[in-house]
């Protein structure tokens, strides 16, 4: 583990990503302290430019809402939806992939056909339709993102299980008489965790992008301020007040970039032998 930490921390990009994400996380957690008022509340004159008014350093929008508050509360939504929908998708993917990979035969066939189906249909369109029909809410958004993002995990886990099942140490576990359930849990799954963690970290980033796209299209939760919504709402003011859409976009960009950097750092640190292949 210390080797892993050392390799991860040697990666400057990953460390930068970790620091950015930590900062965003702190802002998200501290949002109610920093901005006691609701981000929906009209607190000042409309269209205050950024860096003009000390009290509203990020400016206000066309209704006089504090953009800074929107950014902070938006961070809560983005990070929460990213984390929860990924967690759901990863758990579902592991369960389905493990069942398919270990059981094999018709179970594998059936589950893989279903997975392929979900992978074939366009993900963003599917998410849009799901949220629209289930009516937009935090629950339906999380569900929609999870539903469109579990297939890669299932395929990955299945692939890992199929490979690992043939590995000699798993065969050895069969030979010494371990039960299949135990073999899956103690022999196979721990060895499949690295790629799952890497994929999951990248999925969080994508989930945040998808959430922002949904709220941009007006499919966000009406009770929660979101970066995508802020950009969508400021579209009409694009010519007059471009900064309004600029800042939430930078927030999304930074968050997603930070998570991708962390994901790449994890990838390099968890697969040290892969990184050296072909690059030297």
């Amino acid at each position: 583990m210390s080797g892993f930490a050392r390799r991860f921390l040697r990666n400057t990009g990953a460390v930068a990503g970790l620091m950015i994400l930590a900062a965003i996380l702190v802002v998200a957690l501290a949002a109610p302290l920093l901005f006691p008022d609701s981000p929906w509340m009209m607190v000042a004159d409309p269209l205050i430019l950024p860096f003009q008014d000390g009290q509203y350093p990020f400016g206000t929008d066309m209704l006089g809402r504090d953009i800074g508050a929107g950014l902070a509360y938006g961070a809560r939504v983005s990070l929460m939806i990213g984390a929860v929908s990924t967690a759901v998708a990863v758990l579902a993917g592991i369960a389905i992939g493990a069942a398919a990979g270990y059981h094999g035969g018709w179970v594998d066939d059936l589950l893989m056909r279903v997975t392929e189906f979900f992978q074939t249909i366009p993900q963003l369109a599917m998410a849009v339709v799901l949220v629209a029909i289930l009516t937009p809410s935090i629950g339906s958004i999380v569900a929609a993102i999870a539903i469109v993002s579990w297939p890669p995990v299932a395929r990955l886990v299945r692939g890992e299980f199929l490979t690992l099942r043939e590995r000699e140490f798993v065969q050895a576990a069969v030979v010494i008489g371990q039960h299949p359930g135990r073999i899956m849990l103690t022999q196979i799954l721990p060895n499949a965790m690295s790629p799952i963690i890497i994929t999951a970290s990248l999925m969080v980033a994508t989930a945040i992008l998808t959430e922002s796209a949904l709220s941009f299209l007006g499919l966000g939760d009406r009770n929660m301020m979101s970066w995508g919504f802020m950009i969508g709402a400021s579209r009409t003011m694009l010519r007059e007040a471009p900064w309004m859409s600029l800042m939430p976009g930078v927030a999304i960009l930074l968050t997603v970039l930070a998570i991708n950097l962390i994901g790449e750092g994890l990838n390099d640190a968890l697969n040290p032998q892969l990184r050296h292949r072909g690059e030297d």
Binding site: E168, F169, Q171, V174, I176, G177
Partner: protein, 553 residues
């Protein structure tokens, strides 16, 4: 430790290749230098074998000559004089003109050495195109001649084929054709037969020797196999950990090695004679396999027909308590399939596997599980057979715990087991990656023994190990088998190794058992054509015959 190069063959004429004090640092490696102060000569028309175990720096020497070292390895000192020119001082452009034209190279892995998306004729023609030789129709003609030269059938058709259609041996012939296309003065062969079966290896060795003699090339032949060395070398250079420890004429080095490392290596090579041993063997069979059949079926789709490939057809044999049976065959002979079937890691398609009076073939996995402890296995790959995320203690105790034993009790016994296989008790807390290949294989043996089995199946259990480590593990296996009276099914491609360990040998060929009998009979007075071919293909047989009195003493 440095030995002065042997100048006896090159005193009067300048040698084709003269390597002096070649030193390549190894940044971040386990030793400071990949190769250090290496000096040797190769004369025209001479085969120099460079022998050493894995990591001895043999391949890096070859890479330095070709100028094909990876970016992080740069020669620090020394010179490589080829035809009087120091290759280390040449620019990349000047090297390009020599690679393929004056120096050819053959690699270890024929399966991956050819471009999968380019027809083999085009790959051979590319050498000529790059160096601007054989223009026009002469080039095609040359390709056909080369394919014919390396003994491939029907060159006219074959040149249009993609590599994936060829077997390993055939691909290696294509690589050789490419390396020889412009009749280079020097051929570097880096373990060219290691990935091949014995009979294919014999053919490829004969081919290299024949062409070398005809073209008068100098050959630098890198190998770890003393049998191959004995068959092909004019001179030998022995490398250990990046240092060239001994070199000289082939007969001198093989028959009277001076350096302790060379002696140690040579002593570790099995002689290929059946060794009669005092093992008490009962008459009643512990395991009786009757008419075993196993076929593989490739999965078909609704629009694709299934294909059925027979892997084992109608094989019968017996193993008695305390006996070691060797199952010998080339790749694809079905020997490993038999091992997997015995342990019910694979279902069978016919026949009986009677273990201690009970046919275990029809048992379900759950019904068989309580009996598993009596039938254990030692695997091939010491790196893949241990779970990288478990400590050795965990690995050794998982089996007994699955059988209902308490973890603490099993742990106490694991300690004695480690002692038995020659590992310290401190190994219990450590993870597999902290051990060498040989040590891991000892852990694998201890894992099998932890369940006190009656029969152990060892599938190529020493073939991934360096020859000196292999000798130690074999000695351990023999000793344990004798002391514990456990029966052993020893699956291997190497007749020599089988002869060392087993009282009886079964020879497999294309899924069928072609010969089965006491080791001395199978090796010494074989009745079957195929077995004789296999024996004749074993490299270094002439040397074996010379060596016989020494090892008997």
């Amino acid at each position: 430790m440095r030995t002065m190069p042997d100048h006896s063959t090159s005193a009067d004429v300048a040698p084709l290749l003269r390597v002096r004090d070649l030193t390549v640092p190894l940044p971040g490696g386990e030793r400071p230098y990949a190769v250090r102060d290496v000096s040797f000569d190769i004369a025209r028309g001479e085969i120099l074998c460079i022998v050493g175990e894995s990591g001895s720096g043999k391949s890096i020497s070859a890479g330095a000559i070709m100028g094909l070292l990876p970016h992080h390895l740069t020669p620090e000192r020394g010179e490589i004089l080829f035809d009087g020119v120091d290759l280390l001082r040449l620019s990349e452009t000047e090297m390009l003109a020599r690679r393929g034209r004056q120096i050819g190279m053959i690699f270890q892995e024929p399966m991956s050495a050819l471009n999968p998306t380019m027809r083999i004729g085009d790959q051979i023609a590319e050498v000529m195109a790059v160096h601007g030789t054989h223009p026009g129709p002469a080039r095609r003609k040359r390709v056909l001649d080369l394919l014919d030269l390396v003994g491939l059938p029907d060159p006219a058709t074959l040149q249009h084929v993609y590599p994936f259609r060829l077997s390993g041996g055939q691909r290696q012939r294509v690589v050789i054709a490419m390396a020889l296309a412009l009749e280079p003065a020097l051929l570097i062969a880096d373990e060219p037969t290691t990935a091949l079966d014995v009979t294919t290896q014999a053919q490829i060795l004969a081919l290299i020797k024949r062409i070398q003699a005809r073209m008068g090339m100098g050959v630098m032949f890198i190998t770890h196999d003393f049998g191959v060395v004995a068959d092909i070398a004019d001179r030998i250079a022995v490398m250990e950990k990046g240092v060239l420890v001994e070199q000289g004429r082939a007969t001198e080095v093989l028959d009277s090695p001076r350096h302790p490392y060379t002696r140690h290596l040579i002593a570790a090579v099995p002689t290929g004679r059946a060794v009669p041993r005092g093992v008490t063997v009962e008459d009643a069979p512990l395991l009786a396999v009757r008419n075993l059949i196993k076929t593989y079926t490739t999965s078909g789709g609704p629009f694709r027909p299934k294909r059925v490939v027979p892997a084992v057809c109608d094989v019968s044999f017996e193993v008695r308590r305390g006996e070691a049976l060797g199952i010998v065959g080339e790749s694809g002979s079905g020997k490993s399939t038999i091992g997997k079937c015995l342990l019910k890691l694979q279902g069978i398609d016919g026949g009986e596997i009677v273990f201690d009076g009970q046919d275990i073939a029809p048992l379900s996995q759950a019904a068989f599980r309580p009996q598993r402890r009596r039938l254990q296995m030692i695997f091939q790959d010491p790196f893949a057979s241990l779970n990288p995320r478990q400590t050795v203690g965990r690995i050794l105790t998982d089996g007994p715990v699955a059988g209902g034993e308490a973890r603490a009790e099993a742990m106490a016994r694991a300690r004695t087991l480690l002692d038995l296989v020659g590992l310290p008790a401190s190994a219990l807390e450590r993870y597999p990656h902290e051990f060498s290949g040989g040590q891991r294989q000892r852990v694998g043996i201890a894992r099998a023994l932890a369940l006190q089995p009656d029969l152990i199946v060892a599938d190529e259990s020493v073939s991934a190990l360096d020859v000196s480590v292999q000798a130690q593990v074999l000695a351990l296996l023999k000793d344990l088998q004798k002391r514990l009276g456990v029966a052993l099914v020893f699956i291997t491609h190497d007749l020599r190794v089988a002869a060392e360990v087993c009282q009886r040998i079964a020879v497999m060929h294309r899924g069928c058992l072609v010969e089965y009998g006491p080791s001395a009979e199978v090796l010494g007075a074989s009745r079957e054509d195929y077995t004789r071919r296999l024996i004749e293909a074993m490299p270094g047989r002439a040397w074996d015959a010379r060596r016989q009195p020494a090892s008997a003493a």
